[in-house]
């Protein structure tokens, strides 16, 4: 499985021989999974910055009570667009981008099963995002929150087109997501290289497969709810019309049947990254691979049955509340098992703290905290106090930033050399990690206390004299520190592209197939389709006296 170093020209990067028009065309018309993957990641990072700036505005408004930084209307638009953007225009393209870039490389294929469908998925996502943001040009920015409860979203309470932009933008982007998911399933089932049985598939690919199946099951409920809402708004139908006997809780049920498993859709790729990064930098195979795969499957099955823990306060029966509380606690078990297995992977290893591993460690501790605050919220009686307070905001930002974003940085730093052929700076990476770690915790730990003191969420101001000022001010200061961290990340990426060391095929001494291709890989990925005998084909090559297939 020798690989040949291909010059950058053949990977589509700019050289003196190609005009700008030709290069643009190559990217806009591409069906190559690597280009599309990079396009997803780049767009995702741009939306991340925009949405992050909205969060900055939110925190400035909340730094002191009765602030006038933004009007109430603008504030409501800010948290709506911030949440909607982060979930649908940052989280989902991250799933698609990572999956589309890495899965074919990891299974020894030349591309995804349906390259043109892949392109469709990307452009649908981008079009949906543009549609959502065009609401700014029409002065009709959505302001109903990212989960827009009926009947606030009805034409009666929201007469202008802002809610329509919200529904349609997300719906269109959602079609792209479904297309992408179909593609991932077909690719992992039908395009694996010879010898790669399902057992030998890398953890990353397993997780992306389950993630895709989960998307296929939960995005239709979202689409259904959105179609019902649009029918109500456009044709005056009665899905969520109390005057006609409609039950507004129907929206909540259908939305959360999507909305809760959605958080697993978002975090699974991060689990996948962790299962690649932690072993390589601990120098040991993933501990308990079958248990890890089983855990993902169990989370899938239980995770689709816990949605009403978002509805503990709507007055469901004691039996319903108990069922959903118990199921929610149960889903914490396989998640915990994954943390234990990553810890066991590190135990007895020789851990190298390169930048990816630093972020992986940040993930482990912060996701643990998030899981535990989640258990606190899972118990319905305590949730009756904590629901819709800043405690919840703290909890889900710990899962999403402390977990997802930290894990994503681990993945980006890990695969950046593969995608670009260059190394980032370890020094800047270290600074990025520590500064962002401090800033993140300074902002989000106080939110748990604000929640304990009674601060509801989605409020543009709060009562002075109830102890909320201190925590809110501290949270806002943390934002300044996080901005420095993000800027360092941007600097590191630019530095890496411009001045970074040449990476070579396998800078981290890793074991999965993508490290056999050159950096960046040529358009056709592998000169010859590899044949594998174990889950760590490169380990086998590097350790011919001690190959994995003897022990698997």
């Amino acid at each position: 499985m020798a690989s040949i170093n291909f010059p950058l020209e053949n990977a589509g990067f700019r050289t003196s021989e190609h005009s700008l028009a030709q290069i643009l065309y190559r990217w806009i018309a591409t069906t190559d999974h690597k280009k599309l993957g990079l396009m997803y990641i780049i767009c995702m990072l741009l939306f991340f910055v925009v949405s992050g700036l909205m969060a900055v505005a939110i925190r400035i408004q909340l730094a002191v009570p009765n602030n006038h930084f933004v009007s109430p209307e603008t504030f409501n638009q800010l948290f709506t667009m911030h949440g909607t953007t982060m979930v649908f225009l940052v989280g989902m393209p991250m799933v698609a981008g990572l999956g589309n870039y890495l899965v074919p490389l990891m299974i020894g294929a030349r591309d995804m099963a349906f390259p043109r469908l892949n392109a469709f998925g990307f452009w649908a996502f981008l079009f949906g995002g543009v549609l959502l943001y065009s609401s700014y040009f029409f002065g009709a920015v959505p302001d109903v929150g990212w989960f827009g409860y009926a009947p606030l979203t009805s034409k009666i309470f929201n007469p202008g087109p802002s809610t329509d932009f919200w529904v349609l933008g997300v719906l269109v982007a959602g079609f792209g997501t479904i297309a992408s998911a179909i593609n991932v399933v077909a690719t992992t089932v039908s395009m694996r290289c010879p010898g790669m049985t399902l057992r030998r598939m890398p953890m990353f690919v397993w997780v992306m497969l389950v993630d895709a199946l989960l998307i296929l099951v939960i995005f239709p409920p979202l689409a259904a709810a959105q179609i019902m809402l649009m029918l109500d708004r456009l044709t005056n139908s009665n899905f969520f019309n109390p005057a006609a006997g409609g039950n507004v809780l129907l929206w909540q049920h259908i939305f959360w049947i999507f909305g809760h498993p959605e958080v697993y859709v978002l975090i699974f790729p991060i689990f996948a990254i962790m299962s690649e990064v932690v072993p390589v930098f601990s120098r040991k195979p993933i501990f308990g691979k079958p248990a890890m795969v089983a855990a993902i499957a169990v989370i899938f099955f239980i995770g689709v049955g816990v949605w009403a823990h978002h509805m503990f306060t709507v007055g469901l029966s004691a039996l319903s509340n108990t069922f959903f509380a118990t199921a929610t606690m149960l889903v914490g078990i396989p998640t915990g098992i994954k943390i234990f297995n990553w810890a066991a992977t590190m135990y007895g290893g020789k851990i190298r703290y390169a930048t990816p591993m630093l972020f992986a460690c940040g993930f482990l501790l912060q996701f643990l905290v998030a899981g535990l605050t989640g258990i606190m919220l899972a118990t319905a009686p305590f949730d009756w106090q904590l629901h819709h307070t800043y405690f919840v905001v703290g909890h889900f930002h710990f899962t999403l930033i402390g977990g997802l974003v930290f894990g994503l940085f681990a993945g980006i730093y890990y695969w950046f050399p593969k995608a670009t052929g260059k190394m980032c700076s370890e020094f800047i990476g270290r600074l990025h990690f520590w500064i962002f770690l401090v800033g993140f915790n300074v902002t989000f730990i106080p939110m748990h206390f604000a929640g304990f003191l009674g601060m509801p969420r989605r409020v543009y101001t709060y009562l002075p004299g109830h102890g909320l000022e201190t925590w809110n001010l501290i949270s806002t200061w943390g934002v300044a520190i996080q901005i420095v961290g993000i800027l360092l990340f941007v600097v590191n990426i630019i530095w890496g592209l411009w001045k970074g060391e040449k990476a070579g095929d396998d800078p981290w001494d890793a074991w999965t197939l993508e490290w056999a291709a050159s950096s960046p890989p040529p358009e056709y990925n592998f000169e010859k389709i590899p044949v594998v005998r174990s889950g760590r084909p490169l380990w086998d090559l590097k350790h011919p006296t001690d190959p994995d297939w003897k022990f698997e």
Binding site: V189, R192, G195, L231, T235, N236, N238, G245, N247, V531
Partner: protein
């Protein structure tokens, strides 16, 4: 070893995943129909205005049979029979769609039942309409195949894709069995 490496056809996985995801979409509208059954405050109720669409159902379900016959003919290389049975499938699908349109015309103009009227109207039109849309999309692809074969293209080389289309068509028919049972049998 590489020669023995056989994985499922990616097209079959693709179409099966599409069917999976569409099933969940339909399930949501079926659930809405069931939840709102009998909850309308005003207006016509199902048993007042709905008649069993027997002919339309027979046509749609038979079209599943004719599409299988068309596929078998194609497999055997009998292009004339393939075209015959494929045309029959399209005709039967068309009958179903026109019958639905006629039923809706009657409901709107004579019975004053629209999607706005009450919960029954809302859930009925959305569920039956969603299904009819899927029949329509299937019909468009059936027509494309028919056009291709009549224009002399080599349909036999596309046997795989014809098979996947027929799976989609069977799915649409299976959904109709559910819709028919829920709306016209149980719901009345």
């Amino acid at each position: 070893m590489a020669q023995d490496w056989h994985l499922p056809d990616r097209g079959s996985v693709g179409i099966l995943m599409l069917i999976l995801t569409e099933s969940v979409l339909f399930a949501m509208f079926v659930v809405a129909y069931i939840v709102y059954s009998g909850q309308s405050i005003t207006g016509p109720s199902p048993k007042d205005v709905l008649n069993l669409p027997i002919l339309a159902t027979i046509c749609l379900l038979s079209s599943s049979l004719t599409i299988v016959l068309a596929e078998n003919a194609l497999q055997k290389g009998n292009l004339a029979n393939f075209k015959l049975w494929w045309l029959a499938t399209i005709a039967l699908g068309l009958e179903f769609l026109t019958a639905t349109a006629a039923e809706w015309r009657h409901l709107i103009l004579d019975e004053n039942l629209t999607i706005t009227t009450n919960l029954f109207g809302t859930t009925y039109y959305s569920l039956v309409g969603l299904h009819a849309t899927h029949v329509l999309v299937g019909m468009i692809f059936l027509l494309i195949v028919m056009l291709a074969s009549f224009l002399g293209r080599n349909i036999q080389r596309q046997e795989r894709r014809v098979k996947f289309l027929s799976w989609y068509w069977h799915f649409v028919d299976a959904v109709w069995v559910v819709v028919f049972t829920v709306v016209y049998v149980i719901g009345r």
